[in-house]
């Protein structure tokens, strides 16, 4: 089974899903603190019509063009979510749910049309739904890696600005950090991460790679930087592991395996995490309980009454 690691294409694919996982894990922390976990899911689904339309327009599967199409479509989705939740009484999560399903439905409709067109059925567009990392060719891999590294860099240089904006947006604005600017920066980063990952992981499950590592990292980290680094690490690990397993069978989709890998990391964190992990909480509770019981035994009953 290790022989697949020897193929150079596979090595490249592994590296790129790992870099993607790192980017998605890190950017996922931003959504986590904005309490907008569903946002990445909505935008990922909203990217699908863009992919198919871009394919229909140029008539071939050029990774960069499809990514641009996906990005435009996802940004339109983001714009609508913003518009609906600010200008009507519909709440943000309802508008996300609407945009998610409407855009995805529209995307599937277009996909059916594309698959019926000449050459469409061989286009591999279906791979964008569940992801097919092994189907990526060298140029796809290079495009994906460069974009993912740009995302990681963008997060890294404005690190302290991100922290302030996420912790206390009013205060951030008070000292001259534009909330509107940061909001746009955040949305662009989110969309960029999603579109970079959709071919490898697929529109349905890319959100998991942004949500689960961040949630897992919360069980270990006690600083913002620690949380981002750990989340990136978990994301990278899940990406590489999921890709590797999915490559063992022919035609196995990548997305589901990546999500399962991320879920395993989450379960371990939930149980053993040192910040509020279930085990550590249980141990702390028992320790305190013993401590209190011991003290009770030592204090004579009369004195206890006096202390009241």
């Amino acid at each position: 089974m290790w022989s697949i690691l020897l193929s150079s294409n596979m090595q490249w694919v592994l590296v790129s899903t790992m870099v993607l996982g790192v980017a998605a894990g890190a950017v996922g922390c931003l959504s986590y603190f904005r309490r907008q976990n569903l946002m990445s899911d909505s935008l990922a689904h909203a990217a699908l019509p863009g992919v198919v339309l871009a394919f229909l327009v140029i008539g071939e599967k050029n990774m960069l063009v499809l990514i641009i199409g996906a990005a435009i479509s996802a940004l339109i989705g983001a714009f609508f979510i913003q518009l609906i939740s600010t200008s009507s009484r519909i709440s943000e999560d309802s508008s996300m749910g609407m945009i998610l399903s409407i855009f995805y439905g529209f995307g599937i409709m277009l996909l059916t049309i594309a698959n019926r067109s000449a050459g469409g059925n061989k286009s591999g567009l279906d791979n964008f739904i569940f992801g097919q990392a092994a189907a990526m060719v060298k140029t796809d891999v290079i495009t994906m890696n460069i974009l993912a590294l740009v995302i990681i860099f963008a997060l890294f240089i404005a690190f302290k600005e991100w922290k302030l904006y996420l912790f206390d947006p009013d205060f951030a604005q008070g000292i001259g950090l534009s909330s509107r600017g940061m909001n746009i920066f955040y949305t662009v980063l989110l969309v960029a991460t999603i579109v970079v990952g959709i071919q490898a992981v697929g529109v349905i499950l890319i959100a998991a790679l942004m949500i689960i590592p961040a949630v897992s990292a919360r069980y270990w980290a006690h600083s913002f930087s620690g949380m981002i680094i750990l989340s990136a690490l978990f994301g990278g690990l899940s990406g590489a592991l999921g890709t590797f397993v999915s490559a063992l069978g022919s035609g196995w989709p990548t997305g589901p395996f990546i999500v399962i890998a991320a879920a395993v990391v989450f379960i371990v964190s939930l149980l053993f995490g040192k910040e509020k992990g279930l085990l550590i909480r249980y141990i702390q509770f028992k320790k305190t309980q013993q401590h209190v019981q011991k003290r009770h035994l030592l204090v004579p009953a009369t004195q206890e009454g006096d202390a009241e």
């Binding site: 205060f171 008070g174 000292i175 919360r218």
Partner: protein
């Protein structure tokens, strides 16, 4: 220094269709310690947020030290309500205080050792140096408020806006915070504080601003903090005691 730290002309603001503030006109002298009081929903927080451009103004002009906000942002410190942030955020007290320096440090640069020392000094001032490395989620309400105050102090602003810094804190913290506000005033800074406890107004503030959708009264506490103004601002449904004497304001309804 300019005679007026804050000048507001014809300010109004709304949430959706409800006008929450209208016809606000006020001039605050540099070096005043002002208590902003009024009933719930009177628009006190909105007033602060609107003059600081955190909430859009419908009309009006606001000047700080004779200049628009954009030019004097670094001279202004804002302490939001404690409940406005997520205290479960993974960070420690020292780090939150350091955030007060981000404006001075500048974009994309990291805080250095001097900045951390400054933040530590501010924590010492509010009596929280022992909690510097404590996770903010593990601080009590009063301690969180002190951390917020320390963050404002490191800004070394000339004017401070504080939204209910004394809400839900114990007596010791209240005293510590008021001592610091008094020191700021002695240092010639202007401080505006949203306040909710009528009984302490006379002890704490040299100026008082009664607000209820618009300015009911503004002036020196000695002249302005009168029963008449309180009734006007609170609509007459108020009862409070001070010292031995109990005063009751009867509802006109």
């Amino acid at each position: 220094m300019e005679p007026f730290a804050l000048e507001v002309e014809d300010l109004s603001a709304s949430y959706r269709k409800n006008t929450v503030l209208h016809d606000i006109n006020v001039k605050v002298r540099t070096g005043s310690l002002v208590g902003i009081i009024g009933p719930n929903g009177a628009g006190k927080s909105t007033f602060l947020k609107t003059i600081l451009e955190l909430h859009p103004a419908l009309t009006g002009k606001v000047r700080f030290f004779g200049k628009p906000l954009k030019e004097v942002k670094k001279r202004i410190g804002y302490v939001p309500q404690r409940g406005s942030v997520d205290w479960d955020f993974p960070t420690d007290a020292l780090d939150v205080v350091t955030m007060g320096l981000y404006g001075k440090i500048g974009l994309f640069k990291r805080p250095g050792r001097k900045d951390v020392e400054k933040a530590m000094e501010a924590l010492r001032k509010v009596g929280m140096e022992a909690y510097a490395k404590r996770q903010i989620s593990q601080l009590s309400g009063g301690q969180q408020q002190r951390v917020f105050l320390a963050r404002a102090l490191v800004q070394e602003a000339d004017m401070y806006f504080m939204d209910e810094p004394l809400a839900g804190v114990d007596a010791a913290t209240e005293k510590a915070i008021m001592t610091i506000l008094e020191e700021l005033k002695q240092a010639g800074k202007t401080v505006l504080v949203v306040h909710h406890d009528l009984q302490t107004v006379e002890d704490y503030f040299d100026h008082v601003l009664f607000l209820n959708k618009t300015i009911i009264a503004y002036g020196k506490t000695a002249d302005t903090f009168t029963e008449k103004n309180i009734v006007k601002a609170y609509g007459g449904k108020i009862f409070w005691t001070k010292g031995e004497e109990a005063r009751v304001v009867h509802s006109p309804f």
